[in-house]
């Protein structure tokens, strides 16, 4: 190709849409790149100390937690999805979406709720003492330490697997299952010989999500005193004020994640199922009778009660006792802070998600695939790692920009501006939760064939007009789902908020956590409840629009 033609191509594609998309991708990748680069920075004494005495412990904690929670929540999510997809039993339709609701409860809230409920003075032990005159041996039922963390994380993360697997079972397997029935397999044989192998991609995708959530968790592990790499990052940052050592830990966490990605690749290799066989025909569910129907009903009920209803009711009860005391003027500020941060974050995410999904749809190529990878990379990077990268980046920016601040903003020279502002927190949110918005918009684009856009161009309409009049109306549902998902995650997010918030900036999540670690559990209830209600609202929006 001639150079002149090549230049012509570049001029054509370098429109403002494209440039803004690339800037967005740059913002997403910079902080993570910063963390990786810390491998080449000199380290101090602290790091030597951590490496020698603590690192093995942290890694062990993370691995045990990831292993047990990953296995247990995948099992629960998968079994529930199978029951709901393949069988007919009382309240099946209701359970189908009720089992997603636990997603609205942030695990750290569940952690303090359960640990209080099962403690000596908690509702369960009191009940047995007072009504049945029964005394538990200390340590039998208490939800605490490592097993507490496993219990809580499992119960509140299984919906990720459940949702993906359910979708898979409903869409992919109708014909497989029907043919298996004619082969005379019984229920258990069908699950193990058929359900498991068919759902393998869904199992892998779902458990990856769970694993990343566990690696990112700070609230639950720190509440139960489990040492993980994420909690270690906090300790080196807030305990030793050593950001370099914290960066080094974050970099190691990234290495582990990279390893997990490679494992995923390996597990998926050579196992390409024909995903083109889209079964629009719904699966004919088998009607359960007698004790099997009861068993299905009970399994769903037990999970729904323990992963939602019990902690929720307990929180309502506590809230009724304390809301007058907690409801101070600054409670409104908490709500506004949470809402504003989540709204701004989700808006920016939706904006870049649309831009990127559109660029990829417009110019499908290898570099577009790379762009998609970059946009979605944040979901795998733990909140604490994103936070460190963003902080380091913003401090560097402040140093570089220090010379114009006095003139531009009239502040004293040497003041930190960017790294003291809410912009830093929002940037963190955008990076971490971009995947939620992007995946949703991208899947929405499957409903907009390129010929719509081309027809509009040929009718003399600009790219921008085409977007607003043709693409946007068709994408609205998907954009809204992406927005609600991002909103939900930002509202719940704890570690990132704790690390990046400006001085004195509290949200519902940070206040709740503060009360909880101060052992003022009852006072934590009202803010928890509010947070959960707002989250449920987003979950309902998501479910509503996904039906369509």
């Amino acid at each position: 190709m001639k150079t002149s033609i090549w230049l012509r191509e570049i001029r054509r594609r370098a429109n403002s849409w494209f440039i803004i998309t690339m800037l967005g991708a740059l913002v997403i990748i910079m902080p993570v790149a910063y963390v990786v680069l810390s491998f080449f920075q000199p380290t101090g004494e602290n790091w030597e100390h951590i490496k020698e005495f603590l690192l093995a412990d942290y890694v062990k904690g993370s691995v045990i937690l990831v292993g047990s929670v990953g296995f247990l929540s995948t099992t629960i999510g998968l079994v529930l999805a199978w029951i709901v997809a393949a069988y007919e039993f009382p309240l099946r339709k209701q359970f189908k979406w009720l089992l997603i609701i636990p997603l609205a409860i942030p695990p750290y809230i569940a952690a303090y709720t359960y640990s209080t409920m099962t403690s000596y003075t908690g509702v369960i032990q009191s009940l047995f003492r007072n009504y049945f005159d029964y005394q538990f041996t200390p340590g039998t039922i208490e939800i605490m330490s490592l097993r507490g963390a496993v219990f809580v994380l499992t119960l509140f993360l299984y919906p990720y697997v459940y949702m993906i697997a359910l979708n898979y079972f409903e869409k992919q397997s109708a014909s497989y299952i029907e043919s298996a029935k004619t082969l005379g397999l019984n229920g258990f044989q069908m699950f193990f010989r058929l359900g498991l192998p068919i759902a393998r991609p869904a199992i892998i995708a779902g458990s990856m999500l769970v694993i990343f959530e566990v690696l990112s968790d700070y609230g639950v592990a720190s509440f139960f005193g489990v040492r993980t790499i994420s909690t270690a990052i906090f300790q080196t940052w807030f305990g030793m004020y050593d950001i370099n050592a914290a960066m080094r830990l974050a970099a190691w966490l990234l290495v582990i994640i990279l390893g997990i990605f490679m494992l995923e690749r390996f597990l998926r290799k050579g196992r390409k199922y024909d995903t083109n066989v889209t079964q629009s025909r719904p699966l004919a569910r088998k009607k359960l009778r007698g004790w099997t129907a009861w068993l299905a009903f009970l399994s769903c009920s037990i999970v729904f009660f323990s992963a939602f209803l019990i902690p929720f009711v307990q929180l309502i009860y506590w809230s009724l006792k304390t809301y007058e005391k907690v409801w101070r003027a600054d409670f409104i500020t908490l709500i506004t802070n949470s809402l504003v941060a989540a709204l701004i974050g989700a808006l920016i995410i939706s904006f870049f998600a649309i831009l990127a999904a559109r660029t990829i749809n417009l110019y499908p190529s290898a570099s577009s695939n790379l762009l998609a990878r970059i946009m979605t990379s944040g979901y795998a990077v733990p909140g604490a790692v994103v936070a460190i990268g963003v902080l380091a980046l913003f401090i560097t920016l402040d140093e570089k920009l220090a010379f114009i601040y006095p003139k531009l903003l009239g502040v004293e020279s040497g003041s930190l501006v960017l790294s003291m502002s809410i912009a830093m927190l929002i940037t963190g949110y955008v990076i971490r939760f971009m995947a939620q918005g992007f995946n949703s918009v991208e899947s929405g684009y499957t409903k907009v064939p390129p010929s719509y856009r081309e027809a509009s161009f040929l009718l003399g309409r600009s790219m921008t007009y085409t977007f607003w009049k043709v693409e946007f109306p068709l994408l609205r549902g998907s954009i809204l789902i992406g927005f609600a998902l991002a909103f939900l995650e930002i509202m719940k997010e704890l570690p990132l908020t704790l690390l990046l918030r400006p001085f004195n900036f509290d949200t519902l999540a940070t206040r709740t956590y503060q009360y909880a670690i101060d052992e003022r559990i009852y006072e934590a209830a009202p803010s928890s409840l509010l947070l959960i209600c707002l989250s449920i609202l987003s979950v309902i929006i998501i479910l509503r629009f996904e039906e369509k």
């Binding site: 190709m1 033609i5 001029r11 081309e454 027809a455 161009f457 040929l458 003399g460 600009s462 043709v470």
Partner: protein, 225 residues
């Protein structure tokens, strides 16, 4: 010449063979030219190059005395004034028939726009269907809406990509006649692509046969390659 294509070459990726290789040909004003070729021979690609939806790797295209693609020139699709009827019609599903037809009439004032809309509805005989949505129409009706939408802004040339391929066979012959009438009334220059000889026989003044866009021959006129 009204349309003048010179040495046009194109390939979708560097690894693939060129889909169109140094292809040249011309169209006179008001002519309805048919292009016939097997599926995969590059007919759609040729139309997309003319419309500005793909960029050629070499060659030039002139339209109505204006260079629209050349080594240093690239006029964007929206500025070429080319109309196109897509194989799947690409009607906007969220807009009514009238809204679809008016979509390209942004340069007109309101009364003028209304007049043009009515002309177009009359031309394709869809007056009663103005308020319907595309999914409420039959295949043949959708096809006429697509034609009206493409003709409404009076394009300098109309491109049609296998517009009958989605229709029932028994409908086809009827609709062929209709389309020829519409095109004659609208008095437009048209490039019509099909893999079905009968389509072009019914509609076109002149026919070109292509095989991987290395031009094979025409029954009425010869064109240098």
């Amino acid at each position: 010449m009204f349309v003048d294509i010179q040495n046009l070459s194109f390939q979708y990726s560097k690894k693939q063979q060129p889909v169109i290789d140094r292809f040249s040909f011309t169209i006179k004003k008001g002519e309805i030219v048919g292009i016939v070729g097997a599926s995969g021979s590059g007919k759609s690609t040729l139309l997309r190059l003319l419309a500005g939806l793909e960029d050629p790797t070499a060659g030039s295209i002139e339209l109505d005395g204006r260079l629209i693609v050349g080594d240093n020139t690239y006029i964007e699709a929206e500025k070429r004034g080319v109309g196109m009827v897509f194989q799947n019609y690409a009607l906007f599903p969220h807009l009514t028939v009238s809204e679809n037809i008016c979509f390209g009439l942004h340069k007109m004032k309101r009364p003028e726009k209304k007049k043009r809309l009515n002309e177009m509805l009359e031309l394709v005989q869809l007056q009663e269907f103005a308020k319907r949505y595309p999914h409420e129409l039959s295949g043949g009706q959708q096809q006429r809406v697509a034609l009206a939408r493409a003709l409404a802004p009076s394009p300098s040339i109309l491109l049609m990509d296998e517009p009958f391929s989605n229709l029932d066979t028994n409908l086809k012959s009827l609709i062929r006649m209709e389309v020829r009438d519409i095109l004659q009334k609208a008095n437009s220059t048209c490039l019509f692509v099909s893999h079905d000889q009968a389509d072009v026989d019914a509609i076109c003044d002149r026919i070109i046969y292509i095989d991987c866009a290395t031009y094979i021959g025409s029954d009425k006129e010869s064109i240098p390659v």
